[in-house]
């Protein structure tokens, strides 16, 4: 068989992991792997997107995702424009499309969009000619975070099939949890969602996850613990008894860490609430992949930018 790899990539947009096939996910991860080499060069730049323009269209605060996309685009020699706007209008859909079309008229090739409304990226993709990458839409999805989590786990274990991954915390409000869940299931891993019933409805079982409300019940059997950030800004007080209570029941404490598998891999999408969902020493310890996730994020986003602009 020929070793020439000619995969067809047909997607002009990257909107969710739910919509990708396992082969497509594998293709992004393999492409990302090739891009990690660029970040190790003395000149960390290739001309693949020279002359293209990427716009970071952020309607919600974000530092690392925006920076990560910006750096990824620059390593591919694209030009980067940052556009941030906090919207207060109730008619957000219309504002979004109008804003994007105005920016597009200046000559834009890729929109990277973060918005508080689920489905915002998809709406945008229907109304612009440029490629659209979803950088987080409400509690719906955050596909590049999902892909970089898959990438980081695959690099650590050499595979995804058969691994047991716990995603812990505020599942209901988490787009990261949803993207991780779709991606991990498609790639053959087992997903255990852990959180209080108020932040983890049983309905997640329909998406193929095990739903557990007692962290200690599964702590010793998982290969990966992905600790989600407690999103104080999204939580209604009735869902969340107290911070101390949350840490006692669902935090990755020293006591729980001791009961994990010896080679457990600890992840967190950031930014961390140190001492709340995760103890500092664990986050900074040898089994933490947190900074590796951030580093891999650049390569994964380079792959995403490259692929959506080179779709067949």
């Amino acid at each position: 068989m020929s070793k020439d790899h000619h995969h067809r990539w047909t997607r002009k947009h990257l909107l969710s992991l739910e919509s990708l096939t396992a082969d497509e996910i594998r293709h992004v991860l393999d492409t990302a792997r090739s891009f990690t080499e660029v970040s190790r060069r003395s000149i960390k730049k290739v001309p693949a997107l020279r002359g293209r323009v990427m716009v970071n269209l952020f309607f919600e605060d974000s530092t690392r995702t925006r920076t990560s996309f910006g750096l990824a685009a620059q390593r591919l020699s694209a030009d980067v424009i940052d556009f941030s706007e906090k919207t207060s209008s109730t008619n957000k859909g219309e504002t979004l499309v109008d804003t994007a079309r105005n920016i597009e008229a200046m000559g834009v090739d890729i929109f990277v969009i973060r918005h508080q409304a689920a489905g915002a990226a998809e709406t945008l993709a229907r109304h612009v000619k440029a490629s659209v990458i979803n950088a987080g839409d409400g509690a719906h999805e955050h596909p590049t975070q999902g892909l970089l989590d898959l990438y980081t786990i695959r690099e650590r274990f050499g595979k995804l099939v058969g691994l047991k991954v716990a995603i812990v915390g505020d599942i209901a409000n988490s787009r990261v949890a949803r993207s991780d869940l779709w991606g991990l299931k498609k790639m053959g891993a087992e997903v255990i969602l852990v959180g209080p019933p108020t932040l983890l409805p049983r309905s997640f079982e329909q998406l193929g996850a095990r739903v557990v409300h007692d962290f200690d019940q599964i702590i010793g059997e998982v290969d990966v613990v992905n600790m989600l950030r407690v999103q104080f800004e999204r939580i209604k007080s009735s869902q969340f008894p107290s911070v101390r209570e949350f840490t006692r029941l669902f935090g990755l404490t020293h006591d729980r860490f001791k009961r994990c598998k010896k080679d457990v891999f600890v992840m967190h999408p950031g930014p961390m609430n140190r001492g709340i969902e995760i103890q500092s020493e664990i986050a900074d310890g040898p089994q933490s992949g947190i900074l590796t996730q951030v580093a891999n994020g650049v390569a994964v986003r380079m792959a995403a930018l490259y692929l959506v602009t080179h779709a067949d």
Partner: protein, 176 residues
């Protein structure tokens, strides 16, 4: 025009190419070899093995993926998989021998040179190809060629196949 070269022909073409390289770079003089993925890399492996048999000390060898440097990606059919470049030695100040299977338009070589200058400043870049065919679109020429074909019709391709990549050793001139 001859359109088929079998495994024995291919072997002697590589031998001839290696002779020419050896004459220009005697053992002990600095040299590093960079193969352009995929078949230029395979050819580089074969040349290095032959030079090894002739008593050359270990020659630093790297692999170049030029996908990200191509100027024709948007007009291509199925896009090639982006693969990594592996050059784990310092290319500054040493002569580099760039190796590819077929020299046609010259665009791959241009892309390869653009990629190489991102890694440093070699003292010289020389080009070795298995087949030097007509059809250049850029002012680029091979320093070493195993086989020169001057009248391949424009609508024909020269396909080099290696056992390592394609399970067969052959050179075929065939319609696109």
């Amino acid at each position: 025009m001859r359109t088929y070269y079998d495994q024995n022909d291919l072997k002697s073409v590589i031998e001839r190419l290696t002779d020419a390289i050896a004459a220009a770079f005697p053992p002990g003089k600095p040299l590093a070899i960079i193969g352009i993925r995929t078949r230029g890399d395979t050819l580089a492996n074969r040349i290095v093995a032959l030079l090894g048999k002739r008593g050359y000390p270990r020659i630093p060898q790297g692999t170049l993926d030029i996908t990200l440097y191509r100027d024709d990606l948007t007009s291509m059919g199925p896009k090639p998989m982006v693969r990594s470049t592996e050059i784990d030695f310092d290319i500054n100040g040493i002569p580099l021998l760039l190796v590819d299977d077929v020299l046609f338009t010259g665009r791959s070589v241009r892309s390869a040179m653009n990629a190489l200058v991102d890694f440093g400043r070699p003292s010289a870049i020389r080009l070795a190809v298995l087949v030097d065919r007509n059809g250049r679109e850029l002012p680029i020429a091979a320093d070493f060629a195993g086989l020169t074909l001057r009248d391949v019709p424009a609508d024909h391709r020269v396909n080099v196949r290696f056992v390592e990549d394609d399970n067969v050793d052959e050179i075929v001139v065939e319609p696109k």
